[in-house]
Symmetry: none
Subunit: 134 residues, 4 copies
């Protein structure tokens, strides 16, 4: 039983983005397998207590990316599409987040060592329970 989406209110990332990111993460970590069904728009909207339009917006983005596809009559399922990225492309995607973190952390008085420890903890938490602790 995969793809249990959870959103956190009072967080600055938009709800639709949280949904998109969680599907991405589930697909990447193998928590959700190709061909597996994703919750229906109105079902997920009801479960998360959000506007169906918000879920629809998230699914539209996922569909455009080719990560999910609508199988007529069977709702939407995860594609088996697997991105093959070059090292430089992976670098390019993670770099700005590294930069943001480093800047903010330095401003707040953290040093590189503290950061590394916290980051390791964060990664460990992700590996243990991808869908719950996220």
């Amino acid at each position: 039983m995969a793809l249990r989406i959870k959103i956190q209110t009072g967080c600055d990332t938009p709800i639709y983005r949280q949904i998109v990111d969680q599907v991405h993460l589930a697909a990447a970590t193998g928590t959700a397998k190709p061909g597996e069904a994703v919750p229906s728009i109105r079902g997920l909207a009801e479960q998360l207590v959000v506007n169906p339009n918000t879920v629809a917006k998230a699914y539209a983005e996922l569909r455009n990316e080719g990560l999910i596809e609508s199988q007529q009559g069977r709702g939407m399922t995860l594609c088996d599409r697997r991105e093959v990225l070059t090292d430089s492309e992976r670098m390019r995607r993670v770099r700005p987040l590294l930069s943001d973190l480093a800047k903010q952390a330095v401003m707040l008085g953290f040093n590189a060592q503290e950061l590394s420890r916290m980051l390791k903890d964060e990664c460990k938490a992700l590996g243990q329970r991808p869908s719950k602790g996220a």
Copy 2:
């Protein structure tokens, strides 16, 4: 040479935030020293070709945070750095960035060790020094 602020338009981070961050960073890394003057609101606005109110907004935030102080009629200067936020608050502010980075990095197949190294490089690039003295 002190506090040359630059902004990039067409970037998704607001102008006023770019200004705030750059002053913060300059103060944290020691690029700008306590007592040093910051550019006048109107002067900086003219230089950056933005509305003076935008600069004023950035400076107001910096002033509220206690990072700069205004000497009426004589411009603003950097304050002596002091610890303003509790440890738990600093943690709370850096946590979401850690989380974002960890998620994205895991998706891209980086491991914690690689991340730590890259993060250290980023910090070094910012000119970080032992945290307490910053």
Copy 3:
């Protein structure tokens, strides 16, 4: 009944500051509880007959301080109270008011004992409760 904000024009404290202070005070005294909604920017602006930007400025400050949080498209609510400022910073902020009061009071011939009594009365009038629980 929650968070009825009132402002007095013709008073030297800025409107936006009156708003900020009243929300702060309501949160500190327990008049407004965590999770409770605050009036919308446009709604409050209309009620107070001021410019929406003035209210927005007040709310932005409150948000930066972590006292309220915005849930995009759904308005803003009070956060759980947490200690954000270090003790030394809290001290630094209350010190000038103490100094002003002491100077003025000494000039007027009050002694410390009288002042303490009056100050206790003021605090009681604000509905203060044991500091840590506030």
Copy 4:
């Protein structure tokens, strides 16, 4: 030798107001006696490293209040005018400062007891060295 005015930059009270207040305080506490000379405008301006206009503005206010008077050819001196205030008038003057302090302190999480102690300390400091510690 009395009336050694000192100002503190980086404080939000205007310089001219600091001067006015200090003369008031010195007169009220007896640090400066009636008939005593006050520093010349340009002398004081030079000593404080401020604009002579600023000192002039402060002196103008003091003169309007009748606290100092210009003795032709001898500069300005303190008047022997002694205000006799009713209790209600004294109350009226100290009340707003009490209120401000109480509000700010409650917001910052101080309780009445802590405040009283700090206020006593402040008063003691004023009594000991009116012109130096101010």
